[in-house]
């Protein structure tokens, strides 16, 4: 035990002194999180009201109902900002420039056409680079049109029962239309609000960079066993009255401690420097410790297959980069369709990010599944690594 701690303390001292570990474990991830945050912080992703223009060239009853009734209600939600524009030409120019995401134009004579059961049309002009907002504008106009069509279709369906020609006594159509308009809509939509279990942008960059570089930071511990073997100091360690297990444990502990120091500094620094919110400290600790163990196990296992420390570092970097990409540390790969999003489960980083996201929207108990998944990676990989490491120390 004492030997293990001594080896670990000596290794930690060397690593912190040569600054490489500090660079990879702290400076680079913190720097990148800061850079990403300051560059992308000004770009609003999900939280922008749609700028919807409306041109009412009609000024009749039906168009007034739409503009003040429907659009008025839509505007009050704060999700869509309604801009009344005087002319279609001006509105089109604003949509072309992207100042407005979309415009709804009600042509002159619209209300008269609606009242007299003739075909009527509303026009939607959307900015070419805002297809989803344009579709939303089209749907708002479409919902109103569908309501008008429901009444027309209701009347026509009843009349069609008589062979389509017998309109019956005069005024029957008006009476039918009035009753149809009063009938309740057959399908209603109820809004249910869900929480968000997503990390905000700042916390996403902080967590993503921290866990991506964690897989590089822990390399410094285990790989030093290969260095010691090449330099011949391993033979001397084995010759000393220290058990092999103590030596291996010392190296693994070094990895763990390097990971712990780096993650601790990063969590504190990103919280203080740009107010990243990691979540419940207990939950974050559980996730961080599990992630460090998983990273240590995986990187140790790879090291056991390498001939020397250089080769180990190369292979470890390749695996760390692939797992980091799959784990969604740079961008959420879980959005990808099909097999790709399922592949993310193979990366401990994905469990880490998912755990932090869930912690954001739920209680503490949500961390157990991702934590256990990461501990599973840790147990399997370090189990195999340990048996292989014992062979390696046989000189």
């Amino acid at each position: 035990m004492r030997a293990t701690l001594l080896i670990c303390a000596k290794d930690l001292k060397t690593r912190l002194r040569d600054r490489s570990a500090v660079l990879i474990g702290i400076v680079v991830p913190l720097g990148l999180a800061l850079i990403f945050n300051s560059i992308f912080g000004g770009i609003s992703g999900n939280s922008k009201a749609i700028a919807l223009g409306v041109v009412n060239a009609d000024r009749g009853a039906a168009s007034a109902r739409f503009v003040s009734g429907v659009l008025g209600a839509v505007g009050r939600t704060g999700l869509i900002a309604i801009h009344v524009e005087p002319t279609a030409a001006r509105a089109r120019a604003l949509a072309a420039a992207g100042t407005l995401d979309a415009v709804i134009i009600i042509p002159a004579g619209f209300s008269a056409r609606v009242a007299s059961q003739r075909p009527a049309e509303m026009q939607v002009i959307g900015n070419v680079d805002a297809p989803i907002s344009t579709e939303i504008a089209r749907s708002i106009a479409g919902s109103y049109a569908a309501g008008l069509n429901r009444v027309r279709l209701s009347v026509a369906t009843v009349l069609a029962a008589g062979g389509g020609h017998a309109a019956g006594p005069p005024g029957r159509i008006q009476a039918l239309a009035a009753r149809a308009a009063a009938a309740a809509a057959p399908v209603a939509m109820a809004d249910v609000s869900a929480n968000s279990r997503q990390l905000d942008q700042k916390s996403f960059f902080a967590a993503g960079m921290a866990v991506f570089f964690l897989f590089f930071t822990v390399q410094f511990g285990v790989t030093s066993l290969l260095e010691e073997r090449n330099d011949g100091t391993l033979a001397r360690l084995v010759a000393a009255p220290i058990s092999r297990v103590s030596i291996i444990a010392g190296k693994l502990l070094t990895s763990f401690m390097l990971g712990l120091i780096s993650m601790f500094v990063l969590v504190v620094a990103t919280t203080v420097l740009f107010h990243a919110s990691w979540g419940n400290p207990v939950g974050v600790t559980v996730l961080v410790v599990s992630a460090i163990l998983a990273a240590t196990g995986i990187m140790a296992l790879i090291a056991t297959f390498a001939k020397n420390s250089e080769q180990a570092a190369n292979w470890q970097s390749v695996v760390a980069v692939i797992l980091g990409l799959l784990g969604g540390t740079f961008f959420p790969v879980s959005l990808a369709p099909g097999i790709l999003s399922r592949l993310t489960y193979a990366a401990p980083q994905a469990w880490f990010m998912r755990g932090l996201g869930d912690l954001r929207g739920g209680s503490l108990s949500v961390v157990w599944v991702p934590a256990l998944a990461m501990l599973g990676f840790a147990a399997v990989t370090s189990g195999i690594a340990l048996t292989r490491l014992r062979h390696m120390t046989e000189v």
Binding site: V28, P186, V192, R197, I322, L335, S341
Partner: protein, 387 residues
């Protein structure tokens, strides 16, 4: 001629390590694939739909949603799973068409579909699109129910059949849609193109920067000293080392360009234009890499700094988020990086089919970067090598 040999030996040294092959060629291609699959052509919002047990009318509503443009319907098995998907952001929002939906509509009871949205704006806004699809379905169903209520049809099914028959001939209130403005990128661009050129620029520079470590190794192992002890002038060694880094970048670019064209169908545009951008950009990258290599003494430190610089400049230069959506001030700052000019050039070449004459300002800017960085690098390299 000697300089060329030095360059070729640099190239061979680079690719002797298998891991380098991964980082230079394979990883960028992997990123192009994953980025394209995740975000490429993402002019659609993803809507999770639970419709288990909702019957034929429920299926009809799902079909209506599927027909809605720019809406991608993602089937989900149950309400609990849908909630998780929405909360985790895997889908923008969700809709639950309840079991018994079909029965309720037929019986004239109010049927309620639930719309699940997160607090963020885009999730809530999508509600209007779903409401529109529901309203279109409701027009038919409402007419059928009205006919039953008016006792003009014997059953709901008969009324619905009649409403469907009448509907196409009815003078309707309709909504037409047109678009205005010039598209950032034409829809014919394909889902991988933007990712391909931005990752090409990101990785050309990143790998060129890690060339710094190679320069330090050349110094540490005394390769440079030995070269200089032969009848080789410092100028030749410097030219050779520089040419080596440019050569590596050009080989990398060639493989990524051909690979992405072959595997992902990226059409790169006029070869002369692409070659001009790549060569000038490679020169700028080589200059930056050598410069970093002359400032640091430790290879691992140089690697760390290269990573920070390469990814940082890439982010600023529009390799991760397109420059077009940067705020104006940020966009101006971005153009202090060669990446931004490279992205602009490729946006014109690949995105809008420009030829080499259409990207002269971008080429000019890249040439300035290349000249400045290369001369600075040569001056520094001469000092550290000869000293």
């Amino acid at each position: 001629m000697k300089a060329l040999w030095i360059a070729v030996s640099d190239l061979r040294r680079m690719f002797r390590a298998r891991a380098n092959i991964f980082f230079v060629f394979v990883f960028p291609m992997l990123l192009i694939l994953v980025l394209g699959a995740t975000f490429g052509g993402s002019g659609s919002a993803r809507l999770g739909v639970v419709s288990t047990g909702s019957g034929p009318l429920g299926t009809a509503l799902v079909r209506q949603l599927q027909r809605t443009p720019h809406l991608q319907v993602v089937p989900v098995t149950g309400a609990a799973a849908l909630l998780t998907q929405v909360e985790r952001g895997n889908v923008e929002a969700g809709i639950v068409i309840p079991p018994g939906y079909d029965r309720a509509v037929r019986a004239g009871h109010p049927a309620v579909v639930r719309y699940l949205a997160r607090p963020d704006q885009s999730s809530q806004q999508l509600g209007e699109t779903v409401r529109g699809a529901v309203a279109r379905q409701a027009a038919l169903l409402g007419a059928a129910r009205f006919a039953v209520a008016e006792r003009s049809a014997p059953s709901f099914d008969a009324a619905l059949a009649r409403a469907k028959q009448v509907s196409p001939r009815l003078p309707a209130v309709s909504v037409t849609e047109t678009t205005a403005g010039t598209a950032l990128f034409p829809s014919s661009l394909g889902q991988f193109a933007e990712g391909a050129w931005s990752q090409l620029l990101l990785f050309l520079f990143l790998i060129a920067l890690t060339g710094a470590a190679a320069i330090i190794e050349t110094r540490r192992l005394g390769v440079a000293r030995r070269m200089l002890s032969t009848p080789t002038s410092p100028g030749t060694v410097i030219a050779g080392e520089t040419l080596g880094r440019v050569l590596i970048a050009c080989v990398q670019a060639l493989v990524i360009i051909l690979g992405s064209a072959l595997f992902f169908g990226v059409r790169w545009g006029q070869p002369a234009g692409v070659a001009a951008v790549v060569i000038l950009y490679a020169c700028a990258g080589a200059g930056a890499g050598i410069l970093v290599g002359t400032v640091f003494r430790n290879e691992q430190q140089a690697a760390g700094i290269s990573l920070l610089l390469g990814l940082g400049l890439g982010a600023l230069g529009g390799c991760m988020v397109p420059l077009e959506i940067f705020p104006p001030t940020m966009r101006r700052i971005a153009h202090l990086t060669p990446q931004a000019w490279g992205n602009d050039a490729f946006a014109k070449l690949v995105g809008h089919g420009a030829s080499i004459t259409g990207i002269l300002p971008q080429l000019g800017a890249l040439a300035l970067f290349a000249a400045a960085l290369l001369s600075l690098a040569a001056w520094r390299l001469r000092r550290v090598l000869v000293a």
